[in-house]
């Protein structure tokens, strides 16, 4: 019998076909967006009529779009920083301290992953309006915190689980107090996880629609702006152009986040 590799690594034809179909179904619809963004027609339909980059150049002159983009960047930046800080604290507490009900706590932290965004959105909206808080970018940020926190914890937890608690003890033993131990040992060791968490939560906040839909005041985030533009057919191609750019940026960010997040982990 010929050598077919180890049992686990043997090539598996049906699995490869399945993976290919999976990727096609997942990504082909998305590929239409960049495709039509270069089409020289305001109607999204075949046959393609010609190549143009005018939808992209037109983007430059749209003041509200740039405002919306800036709003999204602001919210994304703040949300990702806060989420990551909270995530570091949560992951450290979960992995370092003996406490009752730890697994229940982790489950609750991860819950927003499975609770529909619309429920959280409505709940927050009701709560905020009862409390008399006006809707603004702050309320959007609050919604995004809830959505993003589980991702931050999920990214950071393996980094904390993967490192030997005696590293921190060694630092204390060599004369450093808790704060310096964190800065000189803990933080550098979980740093790739921190970067990954920042990128991931930023991307999620940047793309988020449902929470923003309920919680936006007068300043729209970018997804809200795009949603608003869909009513005007003549705007549609430039929305496609914008979406293509966002798509591309998101891909790059998520890819970098994954790559950095795994750094150092597989060596162990």
């Amino acid at each position: 019998m010929s050598d077919r590799g180890t049992y686990i690594e043997r090539p598996n034809r049906p699995l490869q076909v399945y993976a290919a179909i999976f990727l096609i179904v997942l990504y082909v619809p998305i590929l239409f967006i960049p495709l039509f963004s270069f089409n020289d027609s305001i109607y999204v339909s075949f046959p393609l009529t010609g190549f143009t980059t005018k939808w992209y150049s037109e983007l430059w002159s749209r003041e509200p779009l740039w405002n919306a983009l800036w709003n999204s960047v602001k919210v994304g930046a703040v949300v990702s920083v806060i989420c990551t800080i909270l995530g570091v604290i949560a992951a450290r507490a979960i992995t370092r301290y003996r406490m009752p009900g730890k697994s229940a706590l982790v489950t609750f932290l991860m819950m927003p992953l499975v609770i529909p965004g619309i429920i959280f959105g409505v709940a927050l909206l009701v709560l905020l309006s009862r409390a008399g808080v006006p809707l603004s970018l702050y309320t959007v940020g609050l919604g995004h915190l809830i959505v993003c926190l589980p991702f931050a914890v999920a990214t950071l937890l393996p980094r904390f689980e993967g490192f030997d608690p005696s590293m921190e003890e060694a630092s204390a033993d060599l004369g450093e107090n808790g704060w310096f131990t964190f800065w000189r040992v803990t933080f550098p060791m979980v740093f790739p996880g921190v970067v990954a968490s920042l990128l991931l939560t930023f991307t999620i906040s940047f793309d988020e629609f449902i929470m923003a839909f309920f919680l936006t005041g007068t300043d729209p985030t970018l997804p809200m702006y795009i949603w608003g533009q869909l009513r005007f057919p003549q705007q549609f191609p430039s929305v496609l152009a914008m979406s293509s750019l966002i798509l591309f940026a998101s891909f790059v960010l998520v890819f970098i986040a994954q790559w950095i997040g795994r750094m150092g982990l597989e060596k162990k």
């Binding site: 003890e169 060694a170 204390a172 033993d173 004369g175 450093e176 107090n177 310096f180 000189r184 040992v185």
Partner: protein
């Protein structure tokens, strides 16, 4: 007893994990500059005791004094002790030099002064020129030495070592034992060394605390532990030991003896007999304290006839099991192969078993 020259003084220390008692009222003193070992089987509480010295575990009761100061309210980073971890805990994001210099931050040295100190340490641990190596480019033995240097550079009063040689192969282990001992002599720092390897403890230590089940059974020099163990547990933990059921025989106040199964009556100086006439005792004799001869030895050396069961040739010495009358279990004998002819090695041959009475250890029955 509070020994005035004790450098580390452990007073009635207990440790509970929940309801589980990991350490049961330990008291002992460790002197300045001593190489002191904690020896015991897995799970007996050695690491727990060491971690209490370092401050990583609180004491549930009792107090630890280091250099006269009570330690219960002193956090780990302020204790005058440093530790070499079983896993070495070398910081993976720093190179060798920054690992060794880690604890120097508060000393307010210039970079050049720091590097000079590090280079001195690298020479001491025989790894000169390794400063810029990454932590993951080191072998197990090298990591162990870096961990040692990282602690020693701070000139601690006490160095705690938790089975630092456990992960090394036998050859490297023996080499590191010698280096560790030489290093300790050179720097003159008190070492508290945890091991479960009795040979390692005997080789390295000035004194050894034998532990079992969270208790300290005996604290003594290697020779003291080997020649005069205080209990059957200690005696069987260190080296091999033959135990014989026996009884005290006192002839008034002048002379004493023990009567041991199969060995007859062995005269013992009265001051070594603590128990009254007729009290049951354990008579213990190490295998190498016996001699096997073809004829009855001359003089008044005690001897009994014996029959050889098995013999094993081990190069420098041979191990024998012999049967004697009045005792069901065979007696283990170990004797050096002095002459080329390996003694009376035929199984089943009739021999004489003799022993030196002053090597007899009398223990309480358990």
């Amino acid at each position: 007893m509070s020994n005035s020259d004790a450098f580390i003084s452990i007073r009635n220390v207990q440790k509970f994990f929940g309801t589980f008692r990991a350490i049961e009222s330990v008291s002992m003193d460790i002197g300045q500059g001593e190489f002191f070992s904690l020896l015991g089987a897995s799970g007996c509480g050695k690491t727990t005791l060491l971690r209490m010295l370092a401050g990583f575990e609180d004491t549930s009761a009792g107090e630890i004094y280091i250099d006269g100061q009570p330690m219960s309210d002193v956090p780990p980073h302020q204790r005058p002790v440093n530790m070499v971890f079983q896993s070495y805990a070398i910081f993976p994001h720093l190179n060798v030099r920054d690992n060794i210099a880690y604890g120097l931050r508060k000393r307010k040295l210039t970079r050049a002064q720091r590097y000079e100190l590090v280079d001195e340490m690298l020479d001491l641990i025989k790894l000169p020129g390794y400063g810029t190596r990454k932590a993951n480019e080191l072998s197990g033995g090298q990591r162990q030495r870096i961990a040692l240097a990282r602690a020693l550079i701070l000139r601690p009063k006490v160095l705690l070592l938790d089975e630092p040689l456990g992960a090394l192969d036998k050859q490297l282990r023996e080499q590191m034992q010698l280096e560790l001992r030489a290093l300790q002599r050179k720097v003159g720092i008190t070492f508290v060394f945890v091991t479960h390897d009795q040979e390692e403890a005997l080789t390295l230590s000035d004194r050894i605390a034998v532990m079992a089940g969270g208790k300290v059974l005996q604290v003594d020099t290697p020779q003291g532990l080997y020649e005069a163990p205080v209990s059957r547990t200690v005696a069987s933990f260190i080296g091999n030991m033959n135990f014989f059921e026996g009884r005290v025989r006192r002839n008034g106040a002048a002379t004493g003896a023990v009567e041991a199964e199969g060995l007859g009556t062995i005269p013992i100086p009265v001051d070594r007999l603590t128990r009254p006439d007729g009290a049951p005792v354990q008579v213990a004799l190490r295998p190498e304290k016996f001699a096997l001869t073809a004829t009855r030895p001359d003089g008044d050396v005690p001897a009994v006839p014996a029959r050889l069961n098995t013999a094993a040739y081990l190069g420098e010495r041979s191990h024998y099991y012999v049967a004697i009358d009045g005792r069901t279990a065979p007696v283990a004998v170990s004797s050096p192969n002095v002459s080329r002819v390996n003694g009376p090695a035929q199984a089943g041959s009739d021999l004489w078993l003799s022993w030196s009475p002053d090597a007899v250890v009398i223990l309480d029955p358990d």
